[in-house]
Amino acid sequence: MTFEEFAAERLPGLLRFAAVLTGDRDQAQDLAQEVLIRACARWRRIGSLDRPEYYVRKMLLNEFLSWRRRSWRLIPAGRGLEIDRRHEADHALGYAERDALIGELGKLPPRQRAVLALRYYEGLSDTEIAAALGCSPGTVRGYASRALAALRIEMTARHDRAPAITKETR
């Protein structure tokens, strides 16, 4: 598979994943470019893999985690906490609540956010997430638990693989 073929087939999905990780279009573009320029330079090796998209996705994830370590001081804070919860009947409240949740997602530590994205967006099992992040499944569950608590999300009974957003809707 050439880089062009890979890009035509997989780039849109990778960019969506970058957007989910960063929560920002410009940052997603920067993140994707950083990864793609390295992937392109090493494509002879990456392209020969059975599933190069997994490798590039892992590169994306690693870049996101290291990148956020470098720039964590720049992460804006304070968005979404002012929601007036007395107006739950308000039609717009559903959107406001989603915005608030997105804002709070942006304030999570990168590993916690990555775990949630991999579990609820990518639909990976905790074992698969652990392999991607290079930690144990128990650690993954710890990250997820703390993140969900911070977001005040009520967990349903946890099976190992969370239903992901269906690919057709992406």
């Binding site: 960019l15 920002d24 470019q33 409240l93």
Partner: protein
């Protein structure tokens, strides 16, 4: 309000909408690649640089200036589909802005008897309002140089835009760029040189960078095959032409080869309804002092100044 895992999935779905445009990402990526390659290229001594064969198009030159290219207008044929190659090609054209283009034009076909050639050297992709120098060397069928000339003008607006692209000339037709400027020429056969200002200039630019870029960006070129040209891996593209019912001279096929490594144009072929074919080979040169000097004609010692343009008779 209690949040659920479904709320979290909905939030991620919402974030998906922030995904950047793949075309934009790839174009920026390839720009960076080209910038790096360009930096390496200009850092190397000229004599060690590989001859960057490329080039694109334009100049269907003297021979072509006599021709009227009449292509039916075909706007809106773009597929709008995301294609990485298209992004690469557009990025390559943009990245070469500032380079110097050397275009060798040959006209072949019925009645040409192995006619002459013309080489035009000019800035690639000049901006609107930019001062442009086009250096022209013309050789006759006998191989002798008959013209060493320079045309200097200000790039007009909208050249290469859909409405003025020579390959989409609409009803007017014409592959030429008509401008007013200065013409400086050396005529070896007459041992003379001359310089004329405020002259109406007609340049045989059969298409220009902006025109190619527009066609690539809108998907009007389709890939024909991968092959080898001048020893370089190349990609052959064909301009999607609408069926023409015109009786006059018109283009029946427009082909473009781009370098598979640099993605810059290497050769353009225009085939006309009268059986003639116009072939233009391109080389991109970095804007070094040596190459910039190629834009200037040289007046050999002993030549006299003339006020007569070729074909012009003295007033009696």
């Amino acid at each position: 309000m209690t949040r659920t895992e479904d709320d979290l999935r909905a939030a991620f779905t919402e974030l998906e909408r922030l995904a950047p445009d793949p075309d934009v990402v790839l174009a920026a990526l390839y720009h960076r690649s080209h910038d790096k390659a360009r930096a390496r290229r200009t850092a190397r001594p000229l004599w060690r640089r590989p001859l960057q064969v490329t080039l694109a198009l334009t100049a269907a030159a003297a021979a072509a200036t006599a021709l009227t290219v009449t292509l039916a207008s075909g706007h809106g044929r773009g597929t709008g589909q995301f294609t990485p190659l298209r992004a690469r090609l557009v990025a390559a054209i943009d990245a070469a802005r500032g380079d110097i283009l050397s275009a060798r034009v040959r006209l072949s076909g019925p009645g040409q008897n192995g006619g002459g050639e013309q080489t035009l050297t000019y800035p690639w992709y000049p901006r609107q309002g930019q001062r442009v120098r086009v250096h022209t060397l013309g050789w006759g069928a006998n191989g002798r140089l008959f013209k060493d000339a320079e045309s200097i003008f200000t790039m007009p607006a909208r050249h290469g835009a859909p409405s003025t692209d020579p390959l989409d000339p609409g009803e007017r037709g014409g592959a030429d760029l008509n401008v007013t400027g200065t013409f400086f020429a050396v005529f070896p056969a007459r041992h003379a040189w001359g310089k004329w200002h405020h002259l109406s200039l007609t340049l045989g630019l059969s298409a220009d960078a902006a025109g190619i870029r527009h066609k690539l960006a809108t998907g009007q070129f389709e890939i024909i095959r991968h092959g080898v040209l001048h020893g370089h891996k190349a990609i052959e593209l064909s301009l999607v032409l609408p069926p023409s019912h015109r009786s006059g001279l018109h283009v029946t096929a427009a082909l473009l080869w781009v370098d598979a490594a640099t993605y810059l144009p290497m050769r353009q072929v225009l085939r006309f309804s009268d059986g003639k074919q116009d072939t233009t080979d391109y080389r991109f040169l970095p804007p070094t002092p040596t190459n910039l000097a190629k834009l200037r004609p040289v007046i050999p010692a002993g030549y006299h100044r003339t006020r007569l343009l070729p074909g012009q008779r003295p007033y009696k």
